[in-house]
């Protein structure tokens, strides 16, 4: 839309404040999702094996958690089946001192990072809102209100930088979450502050029932990066090697002080949104089948076999390790958690207020009364029987 010089033209200086700003071209994502598997690229054998083991365990974890939900041992489980590559790569791309900011779907990333799975499942089991110490584990609580964890990650990364610490924050969000105002505000703050944050969007095609086409008209979600002045990266989210590569790259870039990045992982939610959801209402089985052909675990197995890094025995071994993990999880989750109603009042403030003390006393009295009642009734029943 440039106007050619014509007669009648005279020189006009550009608007004074105008200086052509940062070039946008390097910020634009690739035209196709980045991939490594199947490309014959040089890759670290140990890393591939490690990723494979984690993927197999991750898949098994998802299955086990879903089963426990059916048995009433979890209140709800949003499975990451089909998304294990992104989950696992997120965990492995971080160093010890880095922080992970997962959403409600990212139990697996926290587990792959080495957290106690029972503690990570606390929210979804329903014994408390979060079950581990974020400062000790450097994993923020699983976040349910969409995209709200993103500004937290920015604030934490910025704080670490202010203190001169070498810490990167990796924040995870879904395709649906990118529509929330908090997504926008977080990315903008991160870019302005050049905070060491990596934003990982798992585009799994749906926000519950709403497909991506109703969520955005953007060329890709990675294109959103340009509007904040950070690079956008588009990756095959089911290619664990590509995910690991791009995540590590972005994390180390942030660590070097070169600022935040946005990564879109193209993947698919193979299961329903949660156990409570009925996905047949809004999508075709054919679509799911097609994606099963692009399964992150299978892709990695095939790659390893191609590279002669895996044989049937290795597959069996990985499955057994996963089964062992699942058994342990099952056993521990089948025990009722220790609940203490006094917890309800102890962490609202640093110190109970007068009112909270009164309420704690009230509840204690109520519980004592109902226990007494039970004892009385049990006694009676005993007599009756």
């Amino acid at each position: 839309m440039t106007v050619l010089e014509q007669s009648g033209a005279y020189h006009l200086a550009p608007p004074p404040a105008w200086r052509p700003r940062r070039d946008a071209a390097p910020l634009l994502p690739d035209r196709e999702p980045y991939r490594l598997l199947g490309t014959g690229a040089e890759l670290d054998d140990d890393l591939l094996r490690e990723l494979y083991g984690q993927l197999v365990r991750g898949r098994r974890f998802n299955e086990q958690a879903t089963a426990l939900t059916k048995q009433g041992r979890l209140a709800v489980y949003p499975s990451s089946t089909g998304q294990e590559a992104a989950e696992v790569a997120a965990a492995l791309a971080l160093r010890e001192q880095d922080w992970l900011f997962p959403s409600y779907r990212d139990t697996l990333a926290a587990v792959a990072r080495g957290l106690d799975p029972v503690a990570v499942l606390s929210l979804l089991r329903g014994d408390w809102h979060s079950g581990y110490d974020p400062r000790e584990t450097r994993v923020a609580p699983l976040s349910t209100p969409l995209a709200t964890q993103l500004p937290h990650a920015v604030g934490l990364a910025h704080a670490a930088r202010l203190k001169g610490d070498d810490v990167v924050a990796l924040a995870m969000v879904g395709d649906g979450g990118t529509s929330e105002g908090d997504f926008h505000e977080a990315l903008n703050f991160a870019a302005v502050w050049q905070a060491p944050v990596v934003f990982l969007v798992q585009n799994n095609g749906f926000a519950i029932s709403v497909p991506l086409a109703k969520q955005t008209a953007a060329p890709t979600l990675a294109h959103k990066a340009v509007g904040y002045g950070m690079p956008g990266r588009l990756v095959d989210g089911n290619d664990a090697a590509a995910m690991h590569h791009v995540l590590t790259d972005s994390v180390e870039r942030a660590r070097r002080g070169e600022g935040p990045s946005l990564i879109e992982a193209v993947t698919y939610r193979v299961e329903a949104h949660t156990n409570a959801d009925d996905a047949t209402r809004y999508r075709d089985a054919a679509e799911v089948t097609a994606w099963r052909e692009h399964d992150p675990v299978n892709l990695m197995e095939r790659e390893l076999r191609t590279r002669k890094l895996l044989d049937d025995a290795g597959v069996r071994e990985a499955a057994e390790a996963a089964e062992h993990m699942a058994r342990g999880l099952r056993e521990r989750m089948n025990q009722d958690p220790d609940l203490n109603p006094a917890d309800l009042f102890d962490h609202v403030f640093a110190k109970r207020t007068t009112q909270l003390q009164q309420q704690a006393d009230q509840l204690r009295a109520e519980l004592a009364a109902s226990e007494a009642e039970h004892v009385r009734q049990d006694g009676k029943t005993g007599e009756d029987a």
Binding site: E180, I208, K214, L356
Partner: protein
């Protein structure tokens, strides 16, 4: 009518009788709400439903089930995932004369839209001296008792009540679910329509084809007449109060009156005050937190207006002043029959009823 808890609920003296010859059969509150939306869509082309997952899925509680199929995606629309965007575009649609009915998926997920709600939806009519009314209905599933994990069980009515310009409506029966939702959609004022999640699957006998008329928004109903004391309640706590009243009658000989507010704004001071002046004692019951919660206004107002008629302080039974607990602990938080009865027992029954007390002092 029987509610989720199996207690019988009458529409009270002000409830209209169902039309003669209409088949009444068990229906859930969710079904009645669905029917109300359907009938509103059918009757008024300006009614538009939109929000997260309200289309093909029919909403996570299935309240909009089948509506997109019947009325098309232009009338029943899945939006991008952004609550401020939903409420903000609703403002624009209302400015153009439509009648948006939007859904916040859960109570806590209405918070991102609070600026649009407080700064615009509640004020646009006033700002423009009546030129731009906001006939918007914001449906909000609220409250707990369903085993929801964090952020899925809030009772946020105090925020809405404290915002001038909003109506705050909440049904407790199947008939009211239908009737109040129709009234709300037809209203030219913005309505926060609070749907008690744990009553969604509660059943009453009800006629879907000829739903009985219910009193307008702003009218409280005496759901159980009584003489000893008044339980003032609404929404999810109505069944609890009715059950408590039955237990009190059976076990203690107290004859409790139960008033269902049906709307917190407008507040039916007349009905509530008349009841408490009659009984001389009152307990406000809700599951929201107590401190600065919805019951604060009710207790303060009743204490003031009924001062000379009160035999005992107005008590409040509510959730504790804590963030809503995780599923495994929520039963400790939620007011139950025992907690209501315990409060009733503290209404200083030793002092006797003196109808002339106001004059004596």
């Amino acid at each position: 009518m029987s509610t989720a808890t199996g207690t019988s609920v009458g529409t009270g003296e002000a409830g209209a009788q169902p039309p003669r010859g209409t088949a009444r059969k068990p229906a859930t509150m969710a079904q009645a709400l669905n029917r109300a939306l359907r009938d509103a869509l059918a009757e008024d082309a300006d009614v538009h439903i939109f929000g997260e997952d309200v289309g093909a899925l029919g909403g996570v509680f299935r309240v909009t089930d089948g509506l997109a199929a019947e009325f098309g995606e232009k009338r029943v629309t899945d939006t991008p995932l952004a609550e401020a965007g939903i409420l903000g575009t609703a403002v624009g649609m209302a400015m153009y004369g439509l009648r948006p009915v939007v859904e916040m998926q859960f109570d806590a997920f209405a918070y991102p839209g609070f600026e649009q709600l407080i700064s615009h939806i509640s004020r646009m009519r006033n700002r423009t001296r009546g030129a731009l009314p906001m006939p918007i209905t914001v449906r909000v599933p609220y409250g707990g008792g369903i085993g929801g994990v964090e952020h899925h069980s809030d009772s946020s009515e105090a925020y809405y009540m404290a915002t001038p310009g909003l109506h705050v409506v909440t049904p407790a029966t199947v008939a009211d679910a239908y009737g109040l939702l129709r009234h709300s959609i037809a209203s030219d004022d913005p309505v926060i329509f609070l749907e008690p999640k744990r009553l969604y699957w509660g059943k009453d006998d009800w006629s879907a084809d000829r739903p009985e008329a219910v009193p307008e928004v702003g009218r409280a109903l005496v759901r159980r007449p009584g003489t000893s004391a008044t339980l003032i309640t609404y929404g999810p706590s109505l069944p609890v109060c009715l059950e408590a009243a039955e237990a009190a009658a059976r076990d203690e000989g107290w004859d409790l009156e139960v008033v269902d507010l049906r709307s917190l704004v407008p507040f039916d001071e007349e009905t509530v005050v008349a009841s408490v002046r009659r009984t001389g004692r009152a307990v406000v019951v809700h599951e929201s937190t107590g401190f600065a919660g919805p019951g604060a206004e009710l207790a303060a107002r009743v204490s003031e207006r009924c001062f000379h008629h009160l035999e005992a302080p107005v008590l409040r039974v509510s959730g504790f002043d804590i963030p809503y607990p995780p599923p495994m602990l929520e039963r400790h938080h939620l007011p139950d029959v025992d907690r209501v009865l315990d409060a009733v027992s503290r209404l200083q029954w030793e002092s006797e009823w003196r109808s002339d007390r106001g004059e004596v002092r």
